[in-house]
Amino acid sequence: MRIEQSFTIAAPRERVWRAITDPARMAPCIPGCDAIEITGSGRYRIRVAVAMGPVKATFNLDVEVTEETPPGFVASITRGEEGTRASVLTAHSELHLAAIDGGATEVRYISEISIVGRLGRFGLGVMKKKAASLGDAFAQSFRARVEAEAAA
């Protein structure tokens, strides 16, 4: 499934770039993310718990940055599993930062995600809605964090 979302932050692009490429500042804004470990240059491992109704899943994900063009573009590949490989996830993601009027930044990301295994049996339509609402929650908390840093 393809997820495409964007949001704006009232902070200059360089500042947003520094925050979004810093796993220690970015990961805590991911809903359900409770662990992050830097495993190499441009590589990290995160753990994310997701629940929808009675279905609960904890993903162990390895993120690898494959291309980085400061201060506006990151491409990455995420691979991981949940429930001792009951489901396997692969995602190809792109992140774009664009400077917009008034010193603000538009954050846009596109992710092509595939999930096979037990969660693949769950309705894709609803999963996409869930991904969108997690994306909104991330946008809100990341925006709040960067704007607070910019104001400080």
Binding site: M52, G53, P54, V55, G83, T84, A86, R118, L119, R121, F122, G123, L124, G125, V126, K128, K129, K130
Partner: protein
């Protein structure tokens, strides 16, 4: 990975809620129509099952004043074949009658269905349109919430951990009210692509009571008080109903899935509404 799963079959509601309160990974088992399928698919792995089958207080449909109390363990078949559910209450009976297939209707229960809260299931819009209340039991006692407040998000409800649905209360309906449930599904027995529940009453040519809820087109049933207000007092002529359907379609947040695209769902909402209103005025499902 398998591990031993506990199983309890209490005979009182208090025992059941105590067992559920004691273990966050315990699940209550109603008819099993959904839970067992999800366990088979590896989507849910309860530590313990608490069967509700032997709790008499959860069974049966009882008249209460001019309304009804439907025990959570009442099967779809029992609801679908109860002729007392007529007038406005027929919306719930008609919804029960089109759930899945006879085997599922013999197993599945109203409490189990609404607790799972599949957004494409048949009861949610019917219960919202007749303004039912859900009686919830937990280790700390009982509480009631309206059906509209019970369904909170995709597969999410107002149930707190350890709480179960005890009963569904259908309130008295206005004199002359007729309820109906109209479902669009790809094949008989499928979940709704989109559905509409309507309860209406006419005074001569003018509408004096109207409740509309759309199912399968968002995380929870779509009901708009302003749509109902606009139509009440009018004659429910085709252009007014069409406009109401378009307002509901704009308020909907449907998914794109194997059953239909989101755009298709929005397109059919006004047509389903027109048919449901026509059917309610003609006396219900034929």
């Amino acid at each position: 990975m398998t591990r031993a799963m506990g199983f309890h079959a209490p005979v009182t509601l208090d025992e059941a809620t105590a067992l559920l309160a004691a273990d966050a990974d315990a699940r209550c088992l109603a008819g099993g129509a959904t839970l067992v399928a999800m366990m088979n698919a590896g989507l849910v792995e309860p530590s313990t099952l608490v069967s509700l089958r032997h709790i008499d207080a959860l069974r049966g449909i009882e008249p209460v004043g001019d309304g009804f109390r439907i025990g959570a363990m009442t099967t779809h078949r029992e609801t679908a074949s109860d002729a007392r559910l007529d007038g406005g209450h027929a919306a719930v009976r008609e919804a029960a009658a089109v759930i899945a297939n006879p085997a599922v209707r013999n197993m599945g229960t109203m409490g189990g269905s609404i607790a799972f809260a599949d957004p494409a299931a048949d009861y949610p819009p019917a219960l919202v349109a007749i303004e039912a209340e859900i009686e919830i039991a937990g280790a700390d006692g009982r509480r009631r919430v309206t059906a509209a407040d019970f369904f909170t998000d995709w597969y999410e409800t107002a149930l707190a951990p350890g709480e179960i649905v005890a009963a569904i209360h259908l309130p008295a309906m206005p004199a002359g009210a007729r309820g109906t449930y109209h479902k669009l599904a790809r094949v008989a027995g499928d979940f709704a692509t989109a559905s509409v529940a309507v309860v209406l009453a006419m005074a001569g040519d003018s509408c004096c009571h109207l409740r509309i809820a759309i199912g399968g087109c968002g995380p929870t049933p779509v009901r708009l008080a302003e749509v109902e207000t606009r139509l009440i007092g009018g004659e429910l002529d085709a252009p007014a109903v069409r406009e109401a359907g378009e307002m509901l379609a704009r308020a909907a947040d449907p998914v794109d899935d194997a059953r239909a695209s989101a755009d298709y769902r929005r397109l059919v909402i006004p047509r389903l509404l027109a048919r449901a209103i026509e059917r309610a005025r003609a006396g219900g499902a034929s």
